[in-house]
């Protein structure tokens, strides 16, 4: 039918719109020309250039360190918070919900400046520590939401049965709650990791001049002019992302089936 093919075409059009820029980048990362977009033959020299670019590698390593540390700490904090919100009742509980909601909804740029002012109020020098704290702070509500919604699906009677059998809070957490939220813990770690790796808006304000991270380095490289090294770097990052997304999806599909 004619309308069906039109519909399929439309779906393809949207997907093309989303993917053409990424595919172009990957293709050009193998193009043997510096400024031209004309194909001048296959080369791996941009990847070699990248391997020799110490500044860029250093920034990438810094980003990785911040992303791994911040997502680990955010997952730890978020898990404990969501368990507290799920298990206990206390009279400012609603207030904590609101605060989590505020971070979720606030525009990134507003969070960035608010943390900049917070750090300057406490006289903290901008750098690794302030970057780490902010990345934990913006990942934390996402972790709390993902794990909390997983906890709501948990059978309350299992926890009660454990209580009746004499298990303490920690035993219940270690043997009942933690195993059942493990998929959500892994998903939220990966989510925090990508949030941290991608963030420009918050890092822009709290990173300071001395601690170089990848998004900010790319930003200044892009502003100075396009170089094919970035194509190579982007291709590598994109590959990484796809691997992470596929792992996350496999985990969440497994969760739904189980």
């Amino acid at each position: 039918m004619k309308t069906t093919s039109l519909k399929i075409f439309y779906i393809f059009f949207i997907l093309l719109f989303l993917y053409i820029p990424i595919i172009t980048l990957i293709i050009y990362s193998f193009n043997d020309a510096t400024y031209s977009t004309v194909w001048s033959g296959f080369t791996l020299k941009w990847y070699r250039h990248l391997a020799e670019n110490d500044q860029l590698i250093n920034a990438a390593l810094n980003s990785l360190i911040v992303a791994i540390l911040s997502s680990t700490i955010a997952v730890f904090l978020g898990t404990i918070t969501s368990v507290a919100l799920y298990r206990y009742s206390f009279y400012w509980k609603k207030f904590l919900y609101y605060l989590i909601f505020i971070v979720l909804m606030s525009p990134d740029i507003v969070m960035g400046i608010s943390w900049l002012m917070l750090f300057s109020f406490f006289n903290l020098d901008l750098g690794f520590l302030t970057l780490l704290l902010s990345h934990i702070a913006f990942s934390f509500p996402f972790v709390a939401i993902v794990i909390y919604s997983r906890l709501r699906g948990l059978d309350k009677y299992i926890v009660e049965a454990a209580y009746d059998l004499g298990a303490g809070d920690f035993i219940i957490f270690r043997y009942i709650i933690f195993p059942s939220i493990l998929p959500a813990v892994i998903t939220s770690w990966l989510l925090s990791f990508t949030l941290s790796m991608d963030d420009v808006l918050v890092s822009f304000f709290v990173a300071g001049p001395t601690f170089d991270i990848l998004p900010l380095r790319i930003y200044s490289m892009v502003k100075l002019g396009v170089k094919p090294d970035i194509n190579a770097l982007s291709a590598i990052i994109f590959l990484f992302t796809i691997i992470i997304v596929v792992i996350t999806q496999l985990i969440s599909w497994d969760k739904k089936r189980g």
């Binding site: 519909k7 439309y10 779906i11 949207i14 997907l15 719109f17 989303l18 993917y19 053409i20 820029p21 990424i22 172009t24 980048l25 050009y28 977009t37 904090l77 404990i80 918070t81 368990v83 507290a84 206990y88 206390f90 400012w92 904590l96 605060l99 989590i100 909804m105 606030s106 525009p107 990134d108 740029i109 507003v110 400046i113 608010s114 943390w115 002012m117 917070l118 300057s120 702070a137 303490g168 809070d169 920690f170 990508t194 790796m197 991608d198 420009v200 808006l201 822009f204 304000f205 998004p215 790319i218 930003y219 892009v222 396009v226 970035i230 982007s234 990052i237 994109f238 992302t241 999806q249």
Partner: protein
Amino acid sequence: MKILSFKYFSIALASVWLIIFTLFPNFFILIVSFLERDEINFIKPVATLDNFKTLADPIFLSIFIKSLYLSSVTTLLCLILSYPFVLITSKFTENMKKILLLLVIIPFWTSSLIRTYALITILKANGVINSLLISLHIIDAPMNILYTDVAVFIGLTYTLLPFMIIPLFVSVDNIDYQLIEAAYDLGAGKIRTLYSIIIPLTLPGIIAGCVLVFLPSLGLFYIPDILGGSKSMLIGNLIKNQFLITMNWPLGSSISILLNLVLGILLFIYYKSLRRLNKIVTD
């Protein structure tokens, strides 16, 4: 009994963290927006309403209007592109839907900065689009797209499209298909069904998508910076400049308050539309 039980430890940890990193910073913005500027310490503890008065200045007003214009057009573009996409996918099999949704999400997980940079390669004078159109003899000379508003629209739409598709997808997926069949049985045509059944039922999704696109588009300063050649100023760029270039923290804070106000209004509209829909459904 243990002195530090898990219960008190967990509640205390969550409360302290949220108070320091959410309550305090938001308080700071509010307070600083009512203070005077200081050359050395950024802020002087003197109360004033000047920052908010400055916002009414024609220069700022024109930036706000331009910014609202760019963001509104972006939101509309995202909606127009996403709605047919979501309606078409709603007819597909469950597995196909999952795969398509995954394909939409993958770019959203990739650094938006890198994707914005990728757009330069496509839009520039000797870029992909121009080379293609010239080689097909559709145009003779390269079009100037990069460093114009059009490039900013493309960049913002490209980056924020998944934020529109996902809430729309969820709300279209939740439609009771029997309602649509009932409309057809009662003699409604395709357009009438879309207009009187599908759109009203997906209104919360539409509004959620619009909020999720509109708000970030106001703050994403690096997209107009990179694609618009800093010519199109957005509220985001304005806030950034107050904090990092002109060092006027009180003014920057008051602009942020304005941004939060817009957020509040949008959330209120969303909440109202949900209430209205629930009323219509239960009536």
